[in-house]
Amino acid sequence: MTGLIILAVYIAIFAGSYFIIMRLLSGRRSDFTSLKTVTFGDESAVVSNRAASVISIVTIFLIWGAFTGSKWVPGFLHAPGPFVGEAQFEYTARADDGTEDSATVTVLVHPISEEATAPEVDPGDGWAKNDSDTVGAWRSGLIRVDRNDEKGRDQGHTVIAVNGEPIAPGGEVNTRFGRVGMSQKGTLNFVPAKGLQMEAIWLPPPEAVVKRLVDIASEGYRGFTLWEHLGMSLYRVLLGFFFGALVGVPLGYAMGLSDWFRGWFDPIVEFMRPVPPLALIPLVIIWAGIGENGKIILLFLAALWIMAIAARSGVSGVRISKVHAAYSLGASKWQIMRHVIVPNSLPDIFTGARVAMGVCWGTVVAAELVAAEVGAGMMIMAASKFQQTDIVLMGIILIGIIGFGIDMLMRWAERVLVPWKGKG
């Protein structure tokens, strides 16, 4: 239910900001791009709109804050929160002797992080006495209204109405403060209105996540500092990728240059490529245990095939006219290898490296979810067992940022080291 509302709000912001921004800018949109027919597959035909990106990110945080009651989001933007305070409703009971009487129930609905005591109430007149109780926000509580009444259950005490509306076992009555239900045995059950905000245990507000980040950054988590957790994951990725490239690139070269190597390794590489590295985790655990070795082997395997295939296509993708040109300029086989084949394959190898780093990063987190003593994946897995949703969220965000950072770094290296990529 809340999900649908969030989706609706999201779509509304998307569409609304589109109209506002495009209307605002419509005055100066007579450049060449507006005349251009978009060719499908032409990447340069559509460039990403900066304003849209900024609004998109702000929207996510806004919705996150609004639906978690964040202090960082101004109160008027908050989605209705859970009811907190004194709730009251009236019940009418009937006894065996046919008499009916009413009394008021006062329930103190308190934030679950605080203790609370039931408020003092005047018992009132008649045989039905006023009650008081406490219920935590987002929770519910059984309220035994007959306990203090002069005619108890032994005299046939039955609640027949709430706030004047008739109620029967299994039924319910909605009040201003929440829902009053009746169990099969006739006991009232008060569920205070939950509003539209998420409980912190499902989705903590952004500030809680940031606070956690600050706490864990200074105190560590489960015996390791935050940097050790993240650094260890990164270290595993780099080591696994390094070995994977160390073996994979020469293997790919050999496959690109020799038909025997190609024939020998093609079936293996082509078979291993579609096997997701995650599917290898159980086997690697059986063979190498859950320690560091197992993880490095897993990441090595994840990077190996990608790098081999990238190097292979880099070598076999060389234009034959380049090789011919080099030959007729008097280059030897080795010189062609060094000055033509290798540089020509670098863009492909870089693309492979980018993919491999991404796959390795995903794989290491998954492997750490399964078994590890330290690492980003271990951190969120352990936290989830204790329902520390804020740590889980913090971990996911950090994993995403690091993965993104790795990709940006690889792109940057690509631009600097192989600027001729795709311009042959």
Binding site: S321, A325, S328
Partner: protein, 268 residues
């Protein structure tokens, strides 16, 4: 015996489906040192195949080629090639491309630097020598390819449609450049082109090839290349002989194309 000699060259390609294509049949040809020959012919008549055989990238199924008396057995620095496009090394600067040949021979920079600089001047790329290949226009890239070939000082220069991808104006400038370099360096040049005009203007000798199997159809000796060394190419086009030869060759190639089309239609 000096010069380039092709003796009864035949080339048959075996196809994967068991059939074969006779790309060249009994091509015999002699080029004296310093001759410039342009080659014309309908598409698929074996021009590229012929050039690749002379370059040594392909071994002919029959016949042999000799250059200055010794047999051609593979690619070698004595026969340079200028490709249509995409054969430059885009990971090197313009200067590194041009000096590739001498560097591969292990020559010291002091030995080749002067010549490379001179060639960059000749092709008008002195200001671009440190630029990357992909920063140059198509015409500039072709000039780099030409300079790279010349820097290696080959005896024979083979060109496969080197100017095909250029616009009319750049093309005309390049044609003048080719003529100028030909006269200055005295290289033996074979130039394949699809443009009858280009073949007429540049070819001291002009070879028209016929398809299926690829063979020499007719050869001309023309005065225009010599004239063009010192004159405006556009003036030459007004020469009465130029126009008549052009019409003759165009008609010849037109007939061949007609015949090919007719044959493929009959086969269907």
């Amino acid at each position: 015996m000096s010069g380039l000699a092709l003796n009864n060259i035949s080339m048959r390609f075996d196809l994967p489906n068991g059939g074969s294509v006779q790309a060249l049949k009994d091509v015999t040809l002699n080029l004296a040192p310093g001759e410039l020959m342009s080659v014309l012919g309908p598409s698929g008549c074996g021009k590229t195949t012929l050039l690749n055989i002379v370059a040594g990238f392909l071994a002919p199924t029959e016949g042999e080629i000799t250059l200055n008396g010794h047999r051609v057995l593979g690619p070698d620095a004595e026969r340079g090639m200028v490709f249509q496009q995409g054969a430059l090394f885009e990971w090197m600067s313009v200067r590194d491309n041009v000096s590739f040949g001498p560097r591969m021979k292990g020559q010291r920079e002091s030995k080749w630097a002067g010549n490379v600089d001179h060639l960059l001047d000749v092709v008008g790329l002195q200001d671009f020598k440190e630029k990357a290949i992909y920063e140059l226009s198509g015409g500039m890239q072709q000039r780099v390819a030409l300079a790279r070939c010349l820097a290696n000082d080959p005896d024979v220069i083979l060109m496969d449609e080197p100017l095909g991808a250029l616009d009319a104006l750049t093309r005309e400038k390049m044609q003048s450049l080719v003529l100028k370099l030909w006269k200055e360096t005295g290289k033996t040049i074979i130039l394949i082109t699809h443009s009858v005009e280009e073949a007429l203007l540049l070819g001291e000798r002009l070879l028209v090839m016929a398809p299926r199997p690829g063979r020499i159809h007719k050869e001309y000796r023309l005065p225009f290349a010599d004239m063009g060394v010192n004159a405006d190419l556009r003036e030459i086009k007004k020469h009465p002989d130029y126009a008549s030869t052009r019409e003759e060759i165009l008609g010849m190639i037109w007939d061949m194309e007609e015949e090919i089309m007719g044959r493929t239609e009959a086969a269907q």
